[in-house]
């Protein structure tokens, strides 16, 4: 289980996370929603140790990520995969080399085995036979699928998704949602997804958490979130400009 305990993070005078607490259950998809620029990506970067909180704990199965040295942090990171907002594929490598990268880096596998796994992961995201293409030759949706193939290459236990459907058309959005659900089920993953897309969050989330003003103000099942009477939650889900959320 991932447990975030009283996380505080500021950039200069701007408080981004202000005493945030959240439990992320194993084998489930937790979707974190909130305003643009509200600290969702910062939260995700805390979970994987790309950022350290000013105070608070990030516990992964009881181990505090914030206190680990680089070597131990890397050991824990091997249990994670992450799909970045723009996929973050290495431009200088082919699609196949991108997916093979973590396998070459950490596994002691033969090239033949590596390429078998690469083909398997690409097949599981519906992109067989693109190993030799360069990332620049792919569409946005294809890049995200390759990013997901790379994220699950090492069969991680936890996968983080940073706005996986942003910038995609409705058909591709649905395809990516379906892929997240299938991947979560097939690999029995713990998924943490950041999203703005209201339709998507109810499709893919087993749990939904609302981040507002540096804190989680609501956390529950999709049904509980839908039934919430919190004015912030109601305004966010309805997309109304009237309400407690101030537009800046």
């Amino acid at each position: 289980m991932i447990r975030l305990v009283d996380i505080h993070k500021s950039f200069g005078k701007q408080k981004v996370l202000d005493g945030l607490n959240l439990d992320i259950e194993d084998g489930k998809t937790t979707v974190i929603i909130g305003r643009s620029g509200g600290g969702k990506s910062v939260l995700l970067k805390h979970i994987i140790g790309l950022m350290k909180p000013d105070s608070g704990q990030v516990l992964v199965d009881g181990v505090d990520m914030t206190r680990l040295n680089d070597r131990d942090l890397n050991e824990i990171r091997k249990r994670f995969g992450m799909l970045f907002q723009e996929a973050a594929l290495f431009d200088s490598m082919t699609v196949g080399e991108n997916v093979a990268f973590p396998l070459r880096e950490h596994g002691k596998m033969k090239e033949e085995e590596i390429w078998q796994i690469v083909a398997d992961r690409l097949r599981s995201v519906g992109l067989s036979g693109v190993e030799e293409k360069m990332p620049s030759e792919l569409s946005g949706g294809m890049k995200k699928r390759v990013g997901l193939a790379r994220a699950i290459a090492m069969r991680p236990e936890i996968v983080l998704f940073d706005e996986p459907t942003t910038g995609l058309d409705p058909v591709m959005t649905e395809a990516i949602n379906q892929l997240i659900m299938d991947t979560q089920k097939n690999f029995n993953l713990t998924c943490v997804v950041i999203s703005h897309d209201i339709e998507s969050i109810f499709r893919i989330g087993h749990r939904i958490a609302m981040l507002y003003e540096g804190k989680i103000i609501e956390h529950g099942t999709p049904e509980e979130i839908r039934a919430s009477i919190d004015p912030v939650m109601v305004q966010f889900l309805s997309g109304s400009v009237e309400g407690p959320i101030v537009i800046m």
Binding site: L50, R77, F80, M82, F101, P102, E105
Partner: protein, 259 residues
């Protein structure tokens, strides 16, 4: 009085920032040294960078070296003619190229070509989260991105300098002997008499140092890029300016130590 105080304050802050930056570059250097000796050696990455820094810079280095040697011969001839010492043109060109202009101009050209590209490439990787992706995959970015570039630059700069020295002397020979009609025998004899192998070696040591400087600064600026496209542009410009100035300043101190 207030103005003077504000100016002193600004100067102090700028100096503090410069010292802080130098400290960070030194820490990056130590990290590069530590990761260089930690296996596995990323030989493929190093060879790729050697091709980029070395092989692909040959054309500009040949052009720069040749024309620098030619113009030195031309200028030297007019100066030496006043003392009827035209025979020293060849050795002057050779000394100038091997000791100074070969390593310095080669490094400046490679800074403009490859140092800027290092900053731009790493900067783009930073703003598109590719460097974060390396961290997430438990792969060290210094080992993967910076070590190959630094090793390639330190190895290739001396080789490019040899090319530059040779082309410079050849350019000087062409202008001196064929255009200005200096006696060929005296031209060559004075070169062999007045230029030591030590002059060449010291020039090559300088070139290796400049390779270290340009790659470290290029990588540092790129690696620490902030912001989007504007940040990448700023990092690239700063890398070229900062590396060029550092090369010229360190050239003085290296010369003072070596010669």
């Amino acid at each position: 009085m207030k103005r003077i105080s504000a100016a002193a304050d600004q100067l102090g802050r700028a100096m503090m920032a410069a010292v802080e930056e130098m400290g960070k570059i030194l820490l990056l250097f130590l990290s590069v040294v530590a990761w260089t000796f930690r296996p596995p050696l990323k030989a493929r990455n190093i060879l790729k960078q050697m091709e980029f820094v070395g092989v692909k810079s040959i054309f500009v280095v040949v052009l720069t070296g040749t024309f620098t040697g030619m113009v030195m011969a031309l200028q030297g001839y007019h100066g030496f003619r006043m003392f009827s010492a035209e025979s020293l043109v060849g050795s002057t060109v050779a000394l100038g190229m091997t000791r100074e202009l070969g390593p310095v101009l080669t490094s400046l050209m490679v800074t403009a070509r490859a140092g800027s590209a290092m900053a731009a490439e790493l900067g783009t990787m930073r703003v598109t989260e590719q460097i974060d992706a390396l961290y997430v995959m438990a792969a060290n970015p210094v080992k993967h991105l910076i070590v190959p570039r630094v090793i390639a630059s330190v190895l290739m700069l001396p080789l490019l300098t040899v090319v530059s020295d040779f082309m410079g002397i050849l350019g000087g020979y062409f202008v001196g002997v064929h255009l200005l009609h200096i006696n060929e025998g005296i031209f060559v004899k004075n070169i062999t008499k007045l230029v030591d192998l030590d002059d060449l070696y010291n020039g090559l040591i300088k070139a290796a140092c400049f390779g270290l400087i340009l790659s470290l600064i290029g990588c540092y600026k790129g690696f620490n890029t902030r912001g989007g496209a504007e940040g990448v542009g700023k990092a690239t410009t700063e890398a070229v300016v900062f590396a060029s100035i550092t090369i010229l300043i360190s050239d003085y101190f290296l010369t003072a130590i070596m010669f």
